[in-house]
Symmetry: C2
Subunit: 203 residues, 2 copies
DNA sequence: CCGCAATGTAAACAATGATTACACTCGAGA
DNA sequence: TCTCGAGTGTAATCATTGTTTACATTGCGG
């Protein structure tokens, strides 16, 4: 007489998804690094060995969580700069670029633990999102918009990579408490100006 | 009839330093995250509990290692840009700046595991080096040299922070295998140009 | 209705972080 | 020189974890 769940399969429910959800929540609470399969299984009311039906080992779960993180990030990007839309004018292009950077920084601040995992020991990269387009593609789109309105020169690979590192570095340094707590959005804005100044339209 | 070591104290030797050395070597071999106090003690021929005379817990050792990392980084900076020296002309100032960035990137590539620890879960920052000047100070010095020769405008705090994030982001993304293996030094050089272009002398 | 594959259980092994009560050892002071 | 105590290491122990194995259950497809 266990209660009925819609996509429930077999025995105990959708354990794989439950484990993932559990891990994602742990990530949200900054307890990712100390996440234990045993405690997870315990909290999910399941035996320790059960998890191994769905994940080869702990690292496998962590990798999946990291992938999930990149997909979450992609969602944020889509929110800030819908991929099937275009900037209407120069100001809009700037706004969208700042919005993108802001999404990146905000994400790293809201999910520091997940962030560390994503760029941590598994050698993953922004390109490893399963979602299409991948996180890296948005930046390129935004830069092309800016170039279209003459804000910057047409972004080649080095320029795009440079912009990426600048935003990534900002996020990485701001997600630690070591940085002064000036208004985040003003910092991001200032950084975006620097970035754009670095690739002037004259080429 | 135990053999005599110079700075040996007491009983078994200088265990605290031995543990640190062991951990630093593990860092060099990329096995930092899985470093175990037990294995360390075992390899050092000492009982598991002994380590706790010198480090409150595992994290305490890790924190010390991270500090050590920042000090190592400071040494590299000192090598690339001796703090008690000055750029002789514009080209020299540029060279020194690139050298600094290069040191940063190279360090992150040669010690990825240590790198992750340093900027990892302990919320440390470049300023937390015990060595004086701290790692953050070198960048300021270099930027001031550049300003002195008219390459960039006088660096205010936002500009200095921007330069830091750009270099840090580059290091962080390049220490993972995800990035194309173009010639590192050419990438660094290209990045430095971008950074300097972002803060033009006219203000 | 039966049987098989997917799924979960129970028990066990090896390893780890950490604590505690105890023992040794070296050196400073009587 | 002798003693005594702080500093240091030991042994034993506890709680916890990752992981594997042999076994049970369940539920769907034939």
């Amino acid at each position: 007489m266990t209660d009925v769940k819609e996509p429930t399969r077999h025995h105990h429910g959708n354990l794989k998804q439950a484990l993932l959800d559990y891990a994602m929540q742990a990530a949200g609470e900054g307890e990712l690094e100390s996440l234990s399969l045993r405690k997870a299984s315990r909290d999910l009311g399941v035996s320790p060995g059960a998890a191994y039906r769905h994940f080869a080992d702990r690292d496998s779960l962590m990798r999946t969580v990291a992938q999930n993180g990149f997909d979450m990030l992609a969602e944020r990007f889509e929110g800030a700069l819908p991929f099937n839309s275009d900037a209407s004018d120069e100001d809009d292009a700037r706004r969208r670029f700042v919005g993108l950077a802001s999404a990146y920084v905000t994400f790293s601040q809201e999910h520091p633990s997940l962030w560390r995992l994503m760029f941590g020991p598994y050698g993953l990269s922004p390109r490893s999102a399963t979602a299409r387009p991948s996180t890296y593609d948005w930046l390129g789109k935004s830069l092309h918009e800016l170039a279209k309105f003459g804000v910057i020169h047409t972004p080649d690979a080095p320029a795009q990579f440079f912009a990426w590192t600048a935003i990534h570095g900002l996020s990485d340094l701001m997600h630690s408490p070591a940085v002064s707590d000036r208004n985040t959005s003003s910092i991001v804005h200032s950084h975006c100006c620097f970035i754009l100044d670095a690739m002037p339209p004259t080429g």
